[in-house]
């Protein structure tokens, strides 16, 4: 039996997040004490660098190097930001950590502050996470009472304070420069990097932006050492990754797996297989910025670099499983619609390009496309990727490109045969009555919302194809399986 390994989620479900005693009993604040009294800031950064921890927000940038860059800057003020603006559709890793092990994030942020010389931390969290906010507020308050936060922590010279900033639910604010702009009270729009936030971030001061899950890994690394961390996962991606496993899978849930586990193990063992015994089709990782992983890559070990090489990405941890009933063209369309809604509109490639791309995909799913459309789609995708300002636009064509790469046949079927094999794209469906099976019960005719089914009682009925809106009501209502969809 393949099992999960829990580092970031080590305390979730085991401690009462509102009890500091519970946390201390689970080795809480021991890492902070070790750092403050036994380690120099540079030592802490070295441990994190050598542990090989990479940013769990999705990009996979080495955390230690980020810290080192901020530590090297000379400034009267530096900031530590915890990015809790979790926005991937269907993802809730950060919420689970913040709600289930609140103190560990505060402790890790304080350690980061000590390492780079910052005295101020900000948690940028979605306003849609009221319970997490409530628990963080309580945890900050009690940490101050105990002297784990605030002025002269544990009697040392080091002071660190944490405050909350609320995001209004804009996906782009998960991008670090947009996030910083939002904290500054500006529109949540990204700016060109470099300079990186580690050099010039919040209010022009050196700033570290790390994801919640990244912070959740810090204390165990300090306590157990870099070698322990490196013994889990793969050479280039040590440690674990939390995923929100969703979609057509039996055991929907939050999982933490060692890097390098294969997708097959995740789906068959941890996820309990595909729902209703259906056929596996693909898995989307990386949300609207990622791509799909197909049957042929089921045995690819999951880590940052492998996922990139097969046209997907790690992302923050959304993992959506699709079965034979999902249409891949429609799926790509879904994510593109999301991106269009969430594009901040600052740069034209993302604002206009994605909209045009969606129109092309709509042509495909509506059956109005001709074969020339594929090169058009590919060219537009390439332009958007190259010319967009930030990560949102640079990655938004990925779902389209990856479905094109692995499911070209489905695109071709939509374009040439005007068929959708998963029977999702309505415009391409055709509802017909099988004369042999129809006994003229009139049920379909009575339930049709546009009255396009005609026929006398006890005689075979027919559907007027021109008037049919393909709602499927007749299909669901027929008790004799006399209606077929093709």
């Amino acid at each position: 039996m393949v099992k999960q390994v829990r580092i970031a989620l080590r305390n979730c479900g085991r401690v009462n997040p509102e009890s500091i005693e519970d946390y201390i009993n689970a080795r809480g604040y021991e890492a902070l004490v070790t750092c403050l009294f036994d380690k120099k800031p540079a030592d802490v950064i070295n441990i994190i660098t050598e542990s090989g921890l990479r940013g769990r927000g999705g990009g996979g940038f080495p955390t230690g190097i980020k810290w080192k860059a901020a530590a090297a800057e000379v400034s009267d003020e530096k900031f530590i930001i915890c990015n809790a603006d979790e926005g991937d559709p269907g993802a809730f890793m950060d919420r689970a950590v913040l709600e289930g092990d609140t103190h560990s994030v505060l402790e890790a942020m304080t350690i980061a502050g000590y390492s780079v010389g910052a005295d101020k931390g900000i948690i940028y969290i979605r306003a849609e996470y009221p319970l997490a906010i409530e628990r963080i507020k309580k945890a900050i308050e009690i940490s101050k009472e105990y002297g784990f936060l605030g002025k002269n922590i544990l009697g040392t010279e080091f002071s660190f304070d944490i405050e909350l900033k609320y995001g209004a639910g804009a996906f782009v604010c998960g991008e670090e420069t947009a996030l910083i702009a939002s904290i500054e009270g500006k529109r949540g729009e990204p700016v060109v990097k470099p300079p990186y936030p580690a050099q010039k971030g919040l209010w022009g001061k050196p700033t570290i932006v790390n994801n919640v899950e990244t912070f959740a890994n810090i204390c165990p690394i300090i306590l157990n050492g870099k070698d322990w961390f490196r013994s889990i996962g793969t050479q280039k991606s040590p440690g674990t990754k939390v995923f929100a496993l969703a979609g057509k899978i039996n055991n929907v849930g939050l999982i933490e797996i060692p890097m390098g586990m294969t997708l097959r193990n995740v789906i068959d063992n941890i996820g309990g297989g595909i729902r209703d015994g259906k056929e596996f089709k693909a898995v989307q990782t990386g949300g609207p910025s990622g791509g799909c992983i197909t049957r042929e890559n089921l045995d690819t070990p999951i880590d940052y670099d492998n996922l990139l090489s097969i046209g997907s990405m790690m992302g923050s941890g959304g993992m959506i499983v699709m079965d034979e009933d999902d249409c891949m063209v429609n799926f790509a369309k879904f994510f593109l619609e999301f991106t269009i809604d969430e594009s901040c509109g600052k740069c034209a490639p993302c604002r206009v390009g994605n909209k045009r791309l969606l129109e092309l995909l709509e042509k495909v799913t509506n059956g109005q496309a001709t074969e020339e459309i594929i090169p058009q789609i590919e060219q537009l995708c390439a332009t958007i990727k190259k010319a967009s300002l930030c990560g949102l636009g640079q990655t938004s064509p990925n779902p389209v490109l990856s479905t094109l790469r692995y499911f070209r046949n489905e695109y071709d079927e939509h374009i040439k045969d005007k068929k959708c094999r998963s029977k999702v794209c309505k415009a391409l469906l055709k509802y017909e009555i099988v004369p042999d099976k129809c006994n003229g019960c009139t049920r379909c005719a009575r339930s049709c919302p546009v009255q396009c089914i005609s026929g006398k009682v006890k005689e075979v009925h027919t559907i007027d194809q021109k008037a049919c809106i393909k709602c499927g009501v007749c299909y669901t209502n027929c008790k004799f399986n006399a209606i077929i969809v093709s």
């Binding site: 039996m1 099992k3 999960q4 390994v5 829990r6 989620l9 305390n11 979730c12 479900g13 085991r14 401690v15 009462n16 997040p17 509102e18 005693e21 519970d22 201390i24 009993n25 604040y29 021991e30 004490v33 403050l36 009294f37 809730f92 919420r95 689970a96 709600e99 289930g100 092990d101 996470y129 319970l131 997490a132 009472e145 105990y146 002297g147 784990f148 544990l154 009697g155 039996n250 055991n251 929907v252 849930g253 939050l254 999982i255 933490e256 063992n269 941890i270 309990g272």
Partner: protein
């Protein structure tokens, strides 16, 4: 209580760990994340409290914990025995409360229709 030194911390830690080790109550860890609450954790908690009172059980304590990750089986309760071992129960409804108490607290059984497989160490 403000801690002012490394020694203060380790003293507090030692006391806490000792106090916890002496605690011989059976723990009922109920998933109280947003997800668990939405699935009915608060209702389950009330039903269990009532059930414990009905059976006059004094050595069991409810602990509100965060999300354990078993979304497919919410609401969940993990029962941790002081002598070691634990069992995870899923899809609990308030009418199952007495059943759960009888089987897993009075009889300390590791098996029942409510048990879901543990998929991590």
């Amino acid at each position: 209580m403000k801690l002012k030194s490394k020694e203060d911390f380790f003293k507090l830690k030692e006391e806490t760990v000792k106090k916890r080790a002496q605690d011989k109550d059976i723990k009922l860890l109920i998933g109280f994340g947003t997800c668990g609450i939405a699935a009915g954790a608060k209702i389950i908690e009330k039903a269990i409290e009532k059930g414990l009172a009905e059976r006059n059980i004094k050595n069991a304590k409810i602990v509100r914990v965060g999300c354990v990750g078993y979304c497919y089986a919410e609401p969940t309760i993990e029962i941790v025995y002081p002598e070691g071992g634990s069992v995870i129960l899923g899809n609990i409804k308030s009418e199952n409360a007495l059943d759960v108490i009888d089987m897993h607290i009075l009889n300390k059984s590791f098996e029942s229709q409510y048990v879901i497989p543990r998929n991590f160490e």
